[in-house]
Symmetry: C2
Subunit: 351 residues, 2 copies
């Protein structure tokens, strides 16, 4: 039994005495304790060494008092498992070779045995789960198919997604074939994560806002929907969070994926999103990460504004406090601590 | 008298027989004719040489058949006029020195004499106006205060706007002082542009979507409002377009600046924006620039979708067809030509 299950109860829109909080990239470079581990090894090796991944996953739980842990890993492990060579030079750049741009390239991608290719993630989940000793829930995650597709086709990060969109607009069938192949891998992967101990799954569609509404409905949402359904078919009680960042004009379509919760960037007032969705899903977010550069007073007043904007909870509402994007590497950990403590105290009045 | 004034009539929401079209960065590297001029000189020198600026400004009018010309220049000339050293290495990066981060830095920025510091823009406008010989209207433009503020404070482009937001969140009075100083310069500059022959003014807030709704209302909109009012006070008939890219959840606030038209990125269906704004302003946009990577059939079907989404015109509606962002440098000019011709033909049925 979890000692603190506020996060899971909020995702399921069950009553909680206060709003739970965790933050994206909470296991990251802003923490001196993380940097100490990271000095010993490169980024991908850290992901692939369960002892180290476990250590950094638990750091923010102990140091910051967040209400959930998220397994330390990277979305691109899926591309790697499918047969691409992935290089991640933290803060510098990402390179995937070869870029996937033809039918032959797609055919060469494998449908991996998850235990064989991504067993290290399951090992890290099991080890973290053990070390957490039920203090807080553990989140597993994946990139969404569209985001992983852009990395595959571009061969790395991108400004305009020129190659990805060329394939979508000139060879839509081929694009869908690749998206489906990635989606199959994602579904198998997140099911395995649940089996290894993940209490909830977050699907990160980091580059969601590069697509028009119609393109997002055609090239992204159907695949996310498949992923959610795959988890729900086997583990209906495991909550799934979909983070389609900045897709603020199609919130309802995102809720229709069957997800339990939806992540929000800071581009929309959370109260407005709640009013539109009428508590069909839990909302997660949505403080601008740069607010943590502010004074403690500013951090508190902005956090208070979000709690107030979400408003009074009902028997069917759910809010997980988070940043609208990952915490920045040069942030003072004390500022995150200030946020976490403030949200825990301030939110009680709304429950 | 302008031979083709469709663009201005659309901005003023007056009836037109078809939808006018121009595209952002239409005078740019995708045109071999532009590259030929650009080979002779660097980017800022091109902006500062009226003969060359005139030549590239007119190229897309003649080669692509667009319904408006936009003066070839750069938004950062305002920062330069205020005393910053600006280096623009096209496609590579932008460097402004020194970055403006303290009261002393702000105090050192000058309130420039526009004719002295930016006279070359007025020369280029006058010369272009003459060379255009009333074929189509000429657009003048500026960056919005918030966007120019980010360049000033960051000392260049930025991913997270860390320094800009630090100033906003820790020293809001100082941030407002700098924004006001930039705003004063912008107002004087765009009035001069109208006097030199600009038939309309576009205000580009390129980094608008980095701000939350409330921050955009505090740190961006009041300054845009001042700029619009400054033009309108002297030249009430000159239309002003505000392009606050991807601020799709606060369309109504943007319309409240008093602008005649609003630019849209491709993140929202134009018909949805029209329904919300009820033809209070003309809408400009909003094709994803990467659609021009598609086949001619794809380009046409996506353009048709936008025209259909906007729908039937009334006596008070206005639509200027455009991309949701600048045309990309590696685009085939034939694809833009296909778009321009198609929009001209296809749009008539909605008028």
């Amino acid at each position: 039994m979890l000692k603190n299950d506020l996060f899971l109860r909020a995702l399921k829109r069950q009553p909680t005495p206060r709003t739970p909080i965790w933050v994206m990239r909470q296991a990251g470079r802003y923490l001196p304790e993380y940097r100490a581990v990271r000095e010993k090894t490169d980024f991908l090796t850290l992901c692939k060494t369960p002892e180290l991944a476990t250590e950094v996953t638990i750091q923010p739980v102990e140091l910051m008092g967040v209400d959930a842990a998220i397994i330390f890993s990277d979305i691109l492990v899926v591309n790697e498992a499918m047969g691409m060579n992935v290089e991640i030079i933290e803060t510098k750049g990402i390179k995937l070779t070869p870029p996937i741009r033809s039918q032959a390239d797609i055919d060469k991608l494998i449908d991996p045995d998850i235990d064989e290719k991504l067993g290290y993630v399951m090992d890290a989940l099991r080890m973290t789960k053990r070390e957490l000793d039920n203090r807080v829930p553990l989140i597993g995650f994946t990139g969404a198919a569209w985001t992983l597709f852009t990395y595959a086709v571009e061969g790395g990060g991108s400004k305009n997604y020129a190659y990805a969109k060329k394939m979508m607009y000139r060879e839509p069938k081929m694009a869908h074939q690749l998206l489906q192949k990635i989606t199959n891998c994602i579904s198998a992967y997140i099911i395995k994560q649940v089996e290894a101990g993940a209490d909830a799954i977050q699907i990160f569609d980091s580059w969601a806002s590069a697509l028009s509404e119609d393109d997002y409905r055609e090239f992204a949402l159907p695949y996310i929907k498949q992923n959610v359904a795959a988890v729900k078919a086997k583990y209906p009680d495991t909550p799934v969070i979909v983070f389609s960042k900045d897709c603020n004009t199609i919130l309802s379509d995102i809720a229709d994926t069957g997800c339990d919760a939806m992540g929000l960037g800071w581009g929309i007032e959370i109260g407005k999103a709640r009013a539109e969705l009428k508590d069909r899903v839990c909302l997660q977010g949505n403080l601008d990460p740069t607010v943590l550069y502010g004074t403690h007073d500013k951090i508190k007043s902005e956090a208070a504004k979000i709690l107030k904007s979400f408003g009074k909870h009902t028997a069917q509402s759910g809010h997980v406090f988070n940043l609208g994007h990952g915490i920045l590497p040069d942030m003072d950990p004390e500022n995150l601590k200030c946020l976490v403590e403030f949200v825990k105290e301030e939110s009680a009045q709304y429950h």
